[in-house]
């Protein structure tokens, strides 16, 4: 089942030219509200893509569709060369190598930092009985150790995750997603609520990861977008408005209109709503 990607994993070359994720004609309808309408969206291997757009543009829904949390009414979602994601559940998609970091930090508050990472490490089976008898292998332990270094929580390995600061929880969750060894990382507003310094560090972390992984980042903070972005996709009302390098996007009159225009509208409409 998780064969396609796995088998070709060492041979990045083999699929290098293709896309890692391919969405075609995707429509998501929430009781009449079209969160995504006929969306086409492609990300290539080793790409760091930033998705921006005003509230309600469908950014989070896009990640929901890729990670299996929302099922589209129509369209195709293909991972790697030919892995259809639509019939799969969230945990199966995660096992294929798509990791997701949520907007609000979601870690296991009653477990230690180490245990949080231990549960996340990629393993052949995450079924109940395999897990019941599982023992930490040396390879796993080494991976967790190096993960702790990457996210800067080496000294807090024994702390309850619930006792970490907001920024540390965000980093822990990023670490957990990384240990899943995903080919594609989905990151939803990673720097929301972070200090300037944490934001800077998070940007560097994401950039360093882009060598080995494909990453889709959703972000509001334009400062941060400028720091990390190579290619930016602008979503508006469930479809792609435009796509391109960050400088070009910033000066695009349509983008300015939806951002500025929206703001003006909101002010005028505020009493009516």
């Amino acid at each position: 089942m998780n064969g396609t990607i796995q088998d070709e994993e060492p041979a990045h070359v083999a699929t290098e030219r293709g896309s890692i994720i391919y969405l075609e004609g995707v429509t998501v309808d929430f009781d009449g509200f079209k969160a995504l309408r006929d969306l086409n969206f492609i990300v290539n291997y080793h790409e760091l893509r930033v998705v921006i757009g005003p509230n309600g543009a469908g950014k989070t829904t896009l990640l929901d569709v890729i990670s299996g949390k929302a099922k589209p009414q129509s369209g195709r979602v293909i991972f790697g060369r030919d892995q259809d994601l639509l019939p799969l559940r969230e945990n199966q998609i995660a096992a294929l190598g798509i990791g997701r970091k949520f907007q609000t930090p979601s870690v296991f508050g009653n477990l230690t930092v180490w245990e949080n990472l231990e549960l996340s490490v990629k393993r052949a089976s995450k079924g109940v009985f395999a897990t019941l008898w599982a023992k930490a292998t040396r390879q796993e332990t080494e991976r967790i150790e190096s993960g702790l270094v990457t996210i800067g929580l080496k000294d807090k390995r024994g702390s309850r995750a619930g006792a970490l600061s907001h920024g540390e929880k965000q980093w822990l969750e990023i670490g957990m997603v990384l240990l899943q060894d995903p080919a594609l990382l989905l990151v939803d507003e990673p720097v929301a609520g972070m200090t300037d310094q944490e934001t800077e560090q998070t940007g560097q972390l994401l950039l360093s990861l882009a060598d080995k992984h494909s990453i889709i980042v959703i972000e509001h903070d334009m400062e941060f977008v400028r720091q990390i972005a190579r290619t930016v996709t602008v979503l508006h009302e469930g479809t792609v408005l435009c796509e391109g390098p960050v400088e070009k996007i910033q000066s695009d009159p349509r983008v300015m209109e939806i951002y500025l225009g929206r703001k003006k509208d909101k002010k005028e409409d505020a009493p009516a709503r």
Partner: protein, 385 residues
């Protein structure tokens, strides 16, 4: 700030010592005090008391399972009385059949069937003439039933308060079904007037003492089983489900399978508890398996301390001990006392007696117990679909 997690290994030596000490007292000391001193000695443990403790310890087995699913995984089941009842009725049916012609009406059929003018033993009663089949059924029937019910509920992603409500509905419907005379399970009066179990006369103190010892053994086994699950990586996944089910799902685990597993294990333990309860108490009726007893079971765990195995055992024994003392002296006060106790737990010590002791004892006892959850349940996942 406490640094250890729920699965922390700190204080394990102390825990092992306590386990063997409690085991020694329950398994050796109490039965010896029952047998050796004369009935007028102050150290004498009467047959009645020993039998009472046997009943409490059977309840403690159920509480362990309930704690596994509620305390650790955060799923509140209000239907565990049903699984308890299935286990109890399986053994009860066998003991009904082994009464034979000693019954009031002198028929090989159970008395209530004669009374209800049932001429022939219903087909589903037949396997229960075998003692071993009945023992197997006492565990397997609740297990299989929980597997089917849990599969449907968890696959449909029924969570939180919705799960509690449907399990309560299950308890109510089981109560209704068992109450009907047409079900051929003795109706409102249930099954009683048992004479023998595995050929031993239940009226003999020796038989009751043996049942008590068997119950202690099974309680010890159930405790070790639960402890093993909790300390395993699967146990960590269970706690993780309580903390953030979404993260578990997106980490590649199927929460539905883990919930099904823990639900089935706790149902099997409830069935075992019922099987040990019925020969010691001598009666099982629908009133003991319905909505109210199911809620009471939850109160045991809450009072003892959710998310600690010791708490579940303490709660089951303590609340039931309180009940038998209070109902002896002030029978009409018990419901108020139980209700008041539950409110007190919710308001003042959400982590139960174990949580309270830990708070009072400060660092020392927290290291000693070392397996509790720090977070009160109220802050865990709000019920949502």
């Amino acid at each position: 700030m406490k640094e250890e997690s729920i699965n922390g290994d700190s204080g394990m030596r102390g825990e092992g010592f306590s386990f063997w000490l409690v085991g020694f007292v329950l398994l050796i000391v109490l039965p010896l005090l029952n047998v050796l001193p004369g009935t007028d000695s102050p150290l004498h443990v009467s047959d009645f008391t020993l039998n009472l403790f046997g009943k409490f310890l059977a309840f403690a087995i159920l509480a362990l399972g309930l704690d596994l699913i509620w305390g650790y995984t955060g799923i509140l089941s209000l239907g565990h009385g049903v699984f308890f009842g299935l286990g109890a009725y399986a053994i009860g049916m066998h003991m009904m059949l082994s009464i034979g012609t000693e019954s009031v009406y002198g028929s090989a059929l159970p008395d209530f069937m004669v009374w209800n003018q049932v001429k022939e033993l219903p087909l589903f009663w037949k396997p229960f003439s075998s003692a071993w089949l009945s023992v197997a059924a006492a565990i397997l029937v609740p297990t299989i039933f929980a597997a089917i019910f849990g599969f449907l509920a968890f696959r449909s992603r029924i969570k939180g308060v919705y799960f509690s409500i449907i399990t309560q509905a299950l308890a109510l419907s089981a109560w209704l079904v068992f109450n009907r005379n047409e079900t051929n399970l003795g109706g409102t009066n249930g099954l009683t007037d048992f004479k023998t179990f595995f050929g031993f006369r239940l009226s003999e103190p020796g038989t009751q003492r043996t049942l008590y010892v068997v119950t202690v053994f099974f309680l010890g086994g159930a405790y070790l089983l639960c402890r093993w699950i909790i300390k395993s990586r699967t146990g960590k996944v269970l706690v993780a489900i309580r903390d953030s089910e979404q993260r578990v799902l997106f980490s590649g685990y199927s929460p539905a399978n883990y919930k099904l597993f823990v639900f089935v294990v706790s149902a099997a333990l409830a069935g075992l508890a019922g099987a040990l309860y019925v020969p010691q108490v001598g009666i099982i009726t629908p009133a003991q398996i319905g909505v109210l007893p199911s809620i009471e079971m939850v109160i045991w765990v809450a009072v003892g301390g959710r998310g600690t195995l010791v708490g579940a055992v303490l709660g089951a024994v303590g609340v039931n001990l309180g009940r038998s003392i209070l109902t002896n002296h002030f029978p009409e006060l018990w419901p108020f006392f139980l209700g008041g106790l539950f409110i007190a737990v919710v308001l003042f010590f959400p982590d139960g007696c174990v949580g309270l002791l830990r708070k009072l004892g400060g660092g020392w006892s927290s290291r000693k117990a070392g397996e509790g959850l720090d977070k009160p349940l109220a802050t865990s996942e709000p019920g949502s679909r």
